[in-house]
Every structure is written in C-alpha cells, then in structure tokens.
C-alpha cells in the first residue's frame, strides 16, 4: 500500500494525449521533496524516519513530565509548563478516567491514559514541523499503541474478576441459552475489533491530513506541467488551502489524542464493570 508511486506519477508525468506511457517517477523531483512528509524513509543513516521521531516523541514526553514534576518541588504552585501539563492531567483524571472507568478503578489507569494522551499529542504535533514525520502515521506504531490498549483492557477485567470470571463476564447473565452460540463469538470478536478500530482510526487520521496537504501541494507541479502560468496561479491557492489543513491538523492532533484516550478508558470501563 504505497501512495508514493501514484502521486509521484501525478507530479512528474501527466500522460500526454498522444498515448505514450507515463514516465517513471524520477528521484529528486518536486514530488519527492513534498512526499518526505508522508512516507517512511531512511533518515540520518538510520533505517526508519518514523522510528527516529517515535523515539523523539517519547523522549519529549518523558522530559516534559519530569520538568512538570520538578515545578512542584518545594511546595510551589506550578507555573508555565507545569501548570499546562497539570491542567491536561487533571482533565484526563477527572473527565476521562474517573467518569468512564469509575472512581476506584479509574485512578489505577490514569498514568496509562496520560501516557497515551501525551504521546499521541506530541507525536502528531512533531509531525507538523518541517522536515519531520508523524510516527503515529505508521501502522506499526499505532498497532503497538493498540496492543497496549488491548492488554490494559483485558488486564482490567482479569485483575478484578480472575481469568475465568472475566471471560464469563463477556456474556451478560440471564441470556436465553439458544443465544449463546451467537453471543460468544460476537463478544470474542468485539474484544479484538475494539483495539483494531483504535489502530486504524489513529493511523488513518494521522495519514489523511498529510496526504491532503501533499495532494494540494502536488497540484502546483501538476498544473505547471500543462503551462507555467497554471503553476503560478495555483501556488497561492494551494498554499492557502494547505495552511488551512495544517491548522486543522493541530486540532486533529488534540482530538485524536483525546479520542484514543477516551475510547481506551471506555473499553477498560466495559471490562471493569460488565453488565450484570
């Protein structure tokens, strides 16, 4: 599933009306320069750019958390970064964890939910910097996040009820017996589709914005190929629309971090408080 060849082809060669085959994408063209933002590629001698920015995002989150904790030292009221992080953490604790998981159980998962929130937020915002990449726009990264989410959901049920009772909880009691053969497969399936949906949602959202910006910018070389006036006229339009999508991406970064955290909390709550 590589969008690169198609878009490169669009950037480099509109098939001429004479019917000759589209030329192969040449490296170093405008498409290549623009596509660096979407595709994974080697970076500074390392095999994967997404990996670099994955580690960078994790480091930023760790340093940010440490600095925020430091601002509490000596009983001071936190200012600046500490206050900003505190506002988000308190929001996640009170509005996400406690409301979705419950008062007693919510506390145990606050640290996990905060990690999800800040990592996804920082990774998405990092991806908006020039010459960077969104590590959560890689299916492998979101799959890792979703796996952690899946394990947390199962752990919430197993640690509270024990292994056997946890799986017995999947089916609500008092169900007619003839429904069991339908309900059990559905419940087991939904156990896996929940993290799968988390994985796809985050990946697609992170990729989609960058793809739209790329496509808008690729309109410039596309039109310039027909006539240079087309490229000149298209440039301000493309850049204005691209800027708009870029601003939208900032919003999307916050919303997706929130949705991933909230849905994880809700799924954990489902297993911690099954229907009974």
């Amino acid at each position: 599933m590589s969008p690169l060849p198609l878009l490169l082809q669009a950037a480099h060669g509109v098939t001429p009306p004479s019917g000759s085959p589209a030329p192969e994408a040449a490296p170093g063209g405008p498409g290549d320069i623009i596509m660096h933002h979407v595709m994974d590629q080697p970076f500074l001698g390392l095999p994967s750019k997404h990996m670099v920015f994955f580690v960078l995002a994790a480091l930023i989150v760790i340093v940010m958390a440490r600095l925020a904790i430091r601002s509490y030292r000596g009983g001071r009221v936190p200012r600046g970064l500490g206050a900003a992080v505190e506002a988000l953490v308190v929001f996640i604790r009170d509005e996400v964890a406690e409301k979705s998981i419950g008062h007693g159980d919510g506390r145990r998962f606050v640290s996990l939910l905060c990690s999800f929130f800040f990592f996804i937020l920082v990774a998405a915002l990092l991806g908006l910097m020039p010459f960077s990449a969104t590590s959560t726009g890689n299916l492998a990264v979101t799959m890792g996040l979703a796996t952690v989410s899946f394990l947390a959901q199962q752990w919430a049920g197993i640690s509270k009820y024990g292994l056997v009772h946890h799986f017995a909880n999947l089916v609500p009691p008092g169900l007619p017996v003839w429904l069991l053969p339908i309900m059990i497969p559905i419940e087991i399936l939904s156990m896996f589709t929940k993290p799968f949906a988390l994985m796809i949602r985050l990946f697609a959202n992170m990729l989609a914005g960058h793809m739209v910006i790329t496509t808008l910018l690729l309109l410039i070389p596309l039109l310039a190929q027909l006539h240079w006036v087309g490229g000149v006229l298209m440039s301000p339009v493309s850049i204005a629309l691209g800027l708009f999508i870029m601003l939208l991406e900032v919003l999307v970064a916050f919303i997706q971090a929130y949705i991933f955290t909230l849905l994880t909390a809700i799924f954990i709550g489902m297993y911690a408080h099954p229907v009974h």
Partner: protein, 75 residues
C-alpha cells in the same frame, strides 16, 4: 477492461460511498446533539462528550472502508 482501471474505478466509487455513509451518520449525530443541547443547555458538556465518542466510532468504520479503497487504488 484493464483490471487496474477497474481497481481505480472501484476505489473511487468505494471512497465516495464510504464518505456518503460517514457524512450522513455524523450529520445526524451532530443534528441530534445540537437539538439536545438546545433543549437542555445544562447537559451540554455530557452530550458533547458522548457526541465525540460516537463520532469517533462512526469515523473509525468509515476509515475501514476508506483504507480498503486506498488498498485498491495503490496496489
């Protein structure tokens, strides 16, 4: 017909249909949520939270379809 052309064709139509479904779902959701907030402004916060969750779920299903369309297109 060229199978590649058929795949592009299917991807385009599939993406369009998926967006129609997702847009209808989120549109209905937003309309109902706004109606609810207009009637009960006090419950605005809770309705908004529930709306975002439901919108996320609808969006997720739409993305499943879009990714299938993308796989068809970029094969």
């Amino acid at each position: 017909m060229d199978p590649k052309a058929l795949a592009y064709f299917a991807a385009g139509i599939g993406a369009g249909l998926a967006i129609i479904g997702g847009a209808a779902g989120i549109g209905r959701l937003a309309a109902s949520a706004m109606e609810g907030i207009a009637r009960q402004p006090n419950a605005g916060g809770e309705i908004r939270g529930a709306m975002i969750v439901a919108a996320g779920l609808i969006e997720g299903v739409t993305f499943f379809a879009l990714i299938i369309a993308a796989v068809l297109a970029f094969k």
